[in-house]
């Protein structure tokens, strides 16, 4: 292909013998990764864009429909609902853990307590447990005669007990709280890492100026961990948008369609309803939303 772009010109001349060889060396190292990545990620991404312009049941003839699948996506109430649910999940996966995590990290970073390392190990645990296991576990907790309702009855709040995963109003928040449980550790550990880098002198001088703990938090702590907040939000928002296994195992989108999400609609439409084109259009739309949110969050985070 092309010559290697060597920074120093005279070095290039002194390596005359190696020159023809050097051109393909980096490409040879790149080849295995590029081939696998190209064939099984980039190519299917292109194919997804292509599929999304056709109406196809996965078996017979496909019909070109242009932007028809995308127009249907916007008009389909059930799909609009699915995207709405995903945004509700963003609150539970990202916003709620960030609020709790900020408080927790602010307290723990400056606290003189023992066992912080142990705590960090514990709180990160949900991140490594398979989502299916998490989902199976919480299904037991939320069961009509499960521990949660048992606890509510025991403390005299039996009226609140309900089938948490079978209730049109409460199922989505109940599933969302599982996401909060998973995200909290990642967010807290990230924020703690950021806060421990703040020089203590900053706080000392703030105290001399008569700042209270709240002023300290908003004037010093919060601005200092802007970068960590950006990373935490990016990760948790994307995780919320990509929720699939949790929904598949806990509710399958039900009751009714009260907990269906875009990624579940991709699966259901492509492999259960035989609406392959419509399903890929949802997948492409989801990708665009993920990219857009990444872009916006990082844009805001970069502003100093």
């Amino acid at each position: 292909m092309s010559d290697p772009v060597v920074g120093v010109t005279d070095r290039r001349a002194s390596r005359r013998s190696g020159r023809s060889r050097a051109a393909w060396v980096p490409l040879a190292y790149l080849a295995p990764a590029a081939l696998l990545y190209g064939a099984f990620l980039l190519f299917p991404l292109g194919r997804a864009a292509q599929f999304s312009f056709f109406e196809w049941d996965g078996l017979g003839q496909s019909t070109f429909v242009g932007f028809g699948n995308y127009i249907a996506l916007v008009q389909d109430e059930q799909l609009r609902e699915a995207f709405l649910h995903a945004f509700v999940l963003i609150f539970f996966y990202a916003v709620l853990p960030l609020a709790i995590g900020l408080l927790l990290a602010a307290l723990l970073t400056r606290a003189q307590v023992r066992g912080l390392g142990f705590f960090r190990t514990i709180i990160f645990l949900p991140q490594v447990i398979a989502m299916v296991v998490v989902a199976v576990t919480w299904r037991q907790i939320y069961a009509p005669d499960g521990p949660l309702n048992g606890f509510l009855r025991a403390i005299g709040l039996g009226d609140l007990a309900r089938p948490w995963l079978g209730d049109y109003t409460f199922t989505l928040p109940a599933v969302g709280l599982i996401g909060s449980w998973v995200s909290l550790g990642l967010v807290t550990v990230l924020l703690m890492a950021g806060m421990s880098r703040i020089p203590p002198e900053l706080y000392e001088s703030a105290r001399i100026d008569g700042a209270g703990p709240f002023q300290e938090f908003f004037a010093i702590t919060l601005p200092s961990v802007r970068g960590e907040i950006t990373v935490a939000l990016t990760l948790t928002i994307v995780a919320a948008l990509k929720t699939f296994d949790l929904i598949y195992v806990t509710t399958s989108g039900g009751p009714g369609t009260s907990t269906t999400v875009p990624s579940y609609e991709v699966y259901r439409r492509a492999f259960q309803l035989g609406e392959v084109g419509a399903a890929t259009a949802v997948g492409v739309a989801l990708t665009i939303v993920v990219f857009a949110i990444n872009f916006v969050v990082n844009r805001i985070g970069d502003k100093k």
Partner: protein, 267 residues
């Protein structure tokens, strides 16, 4: 006063995190039925053996091990090679190639899974280990290349140049110098790729519709659908599915947390 409050907060949140873990463990070790409960034993370890047999978890775990080994070996090797080129060599379009790999970190599996299924079915790769492994290899390479490039950029340039003067080939420099000193970075990548592959759900669900390459998380999901009353066996299965990654996490938690935070870009 402040100290006490801090301990209270620590303990409350530790309980919030550990509560569900405790629930699943106590269910897994609890009696399977009322008649078994009458025997009065505290721990029912036999649930694990029974789930291993009845729930076929032995079989599913074996499949998961095979898939994970294939993905880790192929993805990590390819990432090391590509990261080496992008991190230490200068060539045309290097930046463009890097950004193309970086893009893959953000692409959700949901976007590519549908065409992947139909195209791999056409060439006969669905219901094979490779059909389940290849998409995960590609996703891990996107992150792995980024990760290894970062590591290779921080290595000592003078050392590489000295080795070059001694006549070492670029291949020897990589395997005899850079890989040995890069063990922490590579080990972290191995751990992350193993965890992501072991825990993956959508790819094995779609890529093996007949269930011949059913991994452990899928086995658990289907077991839940079949045995609605057998809570103890289901819980025992859940513990077994989670155990390999949780055990690794506890042994290597310092690497794991560091790796998760630095590699935080992937999810």
């Amino acid at each position: 006063m402040e100290r006490t409050a801090n301990y209270v907060i620590l303990i409350v949140f530790a309980l919030v995190i550990l509560g569900p873990v405790g629930v699943i463990l106590s269910l897994a070790l609890g009696p399977e039925s009322a008649s078994v409960a009458r025997e009065g034993r505290l721990f029912h370890w036999e649930n694990f053996a029974e789930a291993w047999e009845v729930g076929r978890f032995g079989q599913y775990m074996a499949t998961s091990v095979v898939v994970a080994v294939v993905v880790v070996i192929v993805a990590v090797t390819a990432s090391i090679l590509a990261g080496y080129a992008l991190g230490t060599m200068r060539f045309r379009f290097a930046d463009v190639i890097f950004y193309v790999f970086l893009l893959g970190i953000m692409v959700p599996t949901e976007a590519i899974i549908v065409p992947l299924y139909f195209d791999l079915r056409t060439i006969g790769l669905t219901n094979t280990v490779w059909g389940v492994a290849f998409p995960q290899i590609a996703m891990s390479i996107a992150f792995g290349t980024y990760w290894m490039r970062t590591y290779f950029r921080t290595t000592n340039r003078a050392m590489i140049e000295a080795a070059q003067l001694d006549g070492a080939s670029s291949f020897r420099i990589l395997w005899q110098i850079l890989v040995p000193i890069g063990r922490p970075a590579i080990l972290t990548l191995v751990l992350l790729v193993f965890m992501w592959t072991w825990n993956e759900f959508l790819v094995p669900l779609v890529m093996s519709p007949n269930g011949s390459v059913r991994t452990a998380p899928l086995g658990l999901a289907f077991f839940q659908g079949q045995y609605t009353q057998g809570t103890a066996l289901l819980a025992a299965g859940a513990v077994m599915v989670a155990l390999p990654v949780v055990a690794l996490y506890i042994f290597l938690q310092r690497y794991f947390i560091k790796g998760m935070l630095q590699g935080a870009v992937r999810e």
